[in-house]
Symmetry: none
DNA sequence: CATGAATGAGTGTTCATTCAT
DNA sequence: TATGAATGAACACTCATTCAT
């Protein structure tokens, strides 16, 4: 019984390992060639596994992207929890989480399209949004921070939190495709300064 | 002679009509399905013309996009010239041109990818930039307005004009894919308020 | 009446002129890019005439090639007549006509495929041989020279004239695609020496 | 383990079988319609397999031709090695290898264009020479035989071996498209007689 | 007779997805 | 579960040919 269980455990572990290897390979390929230019065959070649194996773990390339986003979202959530215990200034929280996201995105630029899900390629995918995923974590988190800040009077209230939140997202998007020759983080940092100035109560 | 000329004129006119029908069909399809998801066959089916006809007028799908962009750029340039004669306040010019662009983009949402040229498909296009087009009018124009504003002390100078300009572009991008249920123009208007506040000298 | 006739003559002349302009353009294009790589549009662009006009004079690209061959065949025939009055040695005649052909082909390399008609591209052409043309002049001429030479005992008779003639044609073909770095004429001259030695009575 | 191996063997075998079926279909189509006139779709229809399957085995139509050529080149090389142990007379070697090639080509007429590589389609192929193949075996082999014969005084030396070698190739080319109603081998045999006479020391 | 816009069958090639092993 | 060969729809693009003007 125990042996059986252990065996199952081993299997599960092995399965998980394979899954992660595919995810890593995907990251590597997406980073090198971009999402659209990466074929599933590319990923599995990098992962050094059979092509068909892919479908034992994921249902499509979009699905992979989603799972990668979840990975990051988890990390994001942890930082969020931590920071909220350190300070109650929404301005500070916002600053920290934006910069945290900047570092996250800098290393996983390919997942940017998912922050704005509509911007995705999803050419051959039938449904417009793969099942099994609530709307982006990031968007929601920023939205909450801003709402809280507005309620506490830290941020101006004449513009809806949704709109402001969108603007923060745009900032990431734009920085990702920047032509200005500075690092992604620096780019975000400067824009963040402007935005925070813009939304602060005068 | 006159008859000849008229005849020629008829042909030319018909050709121009066909060209415009294709452009319109492209706009319609791009708007419905996005640029990448639209095939040339789609366009020509919508235009109710033969597939091959496309190539009598355009050399590729990118070419169409470019021509559409030029169309808008021209209009943009005219407004720019006009507004600069009305006022010398860069803040006002910026406001007006952003809103003008907003209206332009609202009707031609598909051309947004071109504002950030890097967002394009990029993979199969041979040359990195299709011939016959100087660097983006819009980007450049906003950059100039902001620079002028900085020089005249209207805008803060601790963040480079390039970065600010990028942020304006991002704003458009984000608004185009907004989930907030207001019009594109309103969306832009609100964000513009924030940005202008953000870049203004305190 | 006379005026009418003259007018007709003018027309005919004009027509002939157009026809020749197309032929010349074809020569130019075939020479530059080869037969298969040249499109009818290419030819008519070079000829600076409308695309449709082509079909008033020729029925297909193959047809043009054929007409060009006829042009050369005529020139060939004239030289043949001349040389036959100068000498009665078939060996000499053969030598002269081969070298004459060499010069002809050197300047019109594109028509080589027609010497071996089967080698042609004729991809989309329905019938395998366009109407209105007897089998190649050149082949026939060489055949006759060799036959005569065999009858007069100048050439060996244990190999049929057809076979020998074919070998001469092959020689041209091969020389046209030679990798040896000498002129087409020199190439032919050397091979001719070998062939004549080979077919001479010992 | 053994079972595993056998299983792998089965797969490999099946793959090899498929590969050969495609090659055979290609031979059949090339023979029927020529290389240029055969489309990949034609080949796969004849092979009764899906179109895409082609690209699991070959990268292009040229690639197929190349593989077919390699097949023959291998066979050619073996005969060459054998004959060189039987005799040291270059005249005999030349005769034997020409006749061997004749038999080879008779059964694979489509590969003739490759003997003169320049005769190929050439237009759309990216690199000028597909990778994975040293310069033509046949051409090189004949060249060597002739060179050796010249050095040993068997063949005349006033014409370069390259030129002579070219003439042999032309002979094949010509025989392939012969109109004379004898077999390919007989055709070659007769021409060979002439050529050998032509290149022999008097 | 001249024109050139319109046409659509045809081409090579890619790739997500399936399925027998 | 892992595999990778098989698949065919989809794509961008070419070009000989037609036909209304």
């Amino acid at each position: 019984m125990v042996a059986e269980q252990e065996k199952m455990g081993r299997r599960e572990q092995k399965k998980l390992k394979a899954r992660n290897e595919i995810l890593d390979a995907a990251v590597s390929q997406f980073t090198q060639k971009g999402f659209l230019e990466t074929s599933i065959a590319d990923i599995m070649k990098e992962a050094d596994m059979g092509l068909g194996t892919f479908y034992n773990y994921f249902s499509s390339k979009e699905d992979v992207l989603l799972k990668l986003l979840n990975r990051s979202a988890e990390s994001f959530g942890q930082r969020m929890t931590a920071i909220m215990q350190e300070t109650s200034s929404n301005r500070e929280i916002l600053h920290e989480m934006v910069m945290f996201t900047a570092r996250l995105v800098a290393e996983n630029r390919y997942l940017l399209p998912l922050l704005f899900t509509e911007a995705m390629g999803h050419s051959r995918s039938k449904g417009s949004r793969p099942e099994g995923m609530d709307p982006p974590k990031f968007m929601g988190a920023f939205l909450n921070i801003i709402r809280n800040g507005q309620e506490k009077g830290e941020f101006r209230q004449d513009v809806s939190a949704e709109i402001i939140s969108e603007l923060f997202h745009s900032m990431f998007q734009g920085a990702a495709y920047s032509r200005v020759d500075i690092s992604f983080e620096e780019n975000i940092e400067m824009k963040l300064k402007l935005l925070i100035a813009g939304i602060s109560k005068d």
